[in-house]
Symmetry: C2
Subunit: 470 residues, 2 copies
Amino acid sequence: MKNTEFLDACRNAIGAAHVLTDEADKAGYLTDQRQRFTGAALAVVKPADTAEVAAIVKLCAQFQIPIVPQGGNTGLVLGSVPDQSGQAIVLSLKRLNRIRAVDPLNHTITAEAGCILQHIQEAAAAEQTLFPLSLAAEGSCTIGGNLSTNAGGTAVLRYGNTRELCLGLEVVTAQGDILHGLRGLRKDNTGYDLRDLFIGAEGTLGVITAAVLKIFPLPKAQLTALAAVQAPADALRLLSLAQSRCGATLTGFELMSDLCLQLVAKHFPQLQFPFAQRHPQYVLLELSDNESAEHASALLEAVIGDALEQDICQDAVLASSTAQSRALWQLRESISSAQAMEGKNIKHDISLPISRIAEFIAVTDALLQQHFPACRNVTFGHLGDGNLHYNVSSPVDSSAEQFIERQADVNRIVHDSVDRMGGSISAEHGLGALKREEILRYKSPVEMALMKTIKQALDPLNLMNPGKVI
Amino acid sequence: MKNTEFLDACRNAIGAAHVLTDEADKAGYLTDQRQRFTGAALAVVKPADTAEVAAIVKLCAQFQIPIVPQGGNTGLVLGSVPDQSGQAIVLSLKRLNRIRAVDPLNHTITAEAGCILQHIQEAAAAEQTLFPLSLAAEGSCTIGGNLSTNAGGTAVLRYGNTRELCLGLEVVTAQGDILHGLRGLRKDNTGYDLRDLFIGAEGTLGVITAAVLKIFPLPKAQLTALAAVQAPADALRLLSLAQSRCGATLTGFELMSDLCLQLVAKHFPQLQFPFAQRHPQYVLLELSDNESAEHASALLEAVIGDALEQDICQDAVLASSTAQSRALWQLRESISSAQAMEGKNIKHDISLPISRIAEFIAVTDALLQQHFPACRNVTFGHLGDGNLHYNVSSPVDSSAEQFIERQADVNRIVHDSVDRMGGSISAEHGLGALKREEILRYKSPVEMALMKTIKQALDPLNLMNPGKVI
């Protein structure tokens, strides 16, 4: 009865065509990207603009209906799918997909939450500028989701996380009010930082409907090299060298263990391995240069030359064309797929102080071997910003399924090790429903209490994405 | 009686020598930097470390004593001095002045709130790294104050505000609990962004006691040029040109009107004006180069050469030594003093979308001339990040005192103009007590309500710097 009345009110507010209640229509919104969980929803509601979002949220507050905001639904921590109670609505932001403004002189772009990340990249490129946020799901994830999860990606070393790329937000509060904060300002000290409170809150404090984002001058050249090193500690020495020589020109610094590239070779034999022999670790470096391809090339050659001379790296290849650069990146980007083709595995999205990464890998690898003999560490990631995808596969010739059953034990070893070294158990994916319990082990009661206080203050009815984050 | 009991408890907690109640001892903490206001305090309390801060805050909560946190007391908006009731304590953080750690590999420095900014710069430099926050008060302001006001300064264009330079915080909450958030991580998505809530809150939500700050590879060379341009719009064209050519190597971009440099010439005749003739506007550019002085020099010459050729600028000088660079910066840094020596004036610390700055200056200058004929605009600032110090002096040969009496009317014209163009009435100084009423005119009721909700949730007794910000 209450639900019928609520759904009728929703249909009145935004049109019946945009309130999906048929099971078939809803199905595409209820399962997470990695198909691990399927929830249920009273309806999938698809407002067209901010005013309609506000109207729907007001109705939800009035009828006490929980709201699960959803963008591209590409998240990895079950943050954008509803639970199985069927009481919540999925609030899809996909129809809020307009680029509202591009201001090249102010270096800003204003985009609605449902804009696909790739479309924003393209809108920036059309003005000869760069929107640097880049990640695997960019063809289907939305900027609202990127903001709500403070997404990272491959360019954080130079440009920061999504948080650092956002100057202003438009938000619908849990009460259904519109916070007009679309300021395109580099400096603004007029009160509490509401923007950063909604960024990374995974839709639990309000609904982000639009954002002013930073764009940058388009680099004249991007150049890539792959260096072979002996150990993670040498990769870190190479990072220091490259940073001191290249400054902000260094835009990518990715670590891959030899096992990562062995799996790529096995499952993607068409991808060429660029060295004559194998090495324990590899580093992918990328420079983005505002001067010229010649300048970038000379700089990269100088850095690699120094590293070879100082025995920091043992071998290196420099891409001399965009096609070669793409080929090197493809090695890096094929690791996840290669590992999946090898069988199910246990993934960790962790970050550490960069100075402790070598120690972390050594200590944690050893701990895992002790408890799970012959398990395989498939370690790679954005070394430049301390973010490792520290994935673990089952031993060769043993059951991946059986190994996965011990995921909680593996997590415990890895996450405890992360915690001892001052790291984070979720670097760029968020908490969602998946790590909501896990984080209680690592955050202090004071921090959890502050988070609860804020949640309670901004969403006293607990209707905004309940069961996520907190 | 209550007060006596409270003060005794404070003395027990941190030692009698650090609880100042003599008027003479307190005096230095009660007047603001520009000597516009003197408040009163029950005591000035000077804890030695975070545990003592927590103990004092707990006592304040217990006895319901308001707290005014204070660092170097160099703020410009009356944020760090108490009101005249005499009921509050000043909580001086000056004794929390230890550099706790420098981690060159992680590019972080961990410093307590009472560290003088310059000491942090020096600690970073000792490790061949750069802590880029730099502002006029750096010899006496503290990092706790910089964080609490999200200070800006001259390097925001490249490195961001204090907010962007901070990775983690230790905070004593209004309840006297310690939030241990000294994480040195570039990526951490494990819940609400408490860090950014305390940054810029001007001590109204809790007391920042320590921070993990970003440091950077020390540039190999810094090079400065002064370019003469016809109008602010040309300065903006020069900015676009320099940004597209230099990227992140461009670390400073300051605008100064001719009147600014005329006042400097009048009051600091020993400083040399570097051009043969006067021009309407000047731009100070600074490059920080990770390669070499030669590279920086060639790049700067190329940019200036292009600008001259495209008639964006009419003349330019390039500093060929550190001494010459210093001399150019001294012109810029002497403007405030020169204007003060010319007489009292009305200051505005504003920011705008960069694309609207030329229009803002034209429109607002004209409005002021209409209402205050012959008033003098002394406009300069950090053009690269949209921050103008839009100061107004009285007409020549008229009374500065009488002009100052009409400050509210001048502010109304300037701030309304800022607001119409999407700007901020406080770019880098904060709100404090000075702009707390003024902001009500420009923030929406929804934004103010959210700020009040947060204040009420985190500081329900309203003891943390009451009467500031909100």
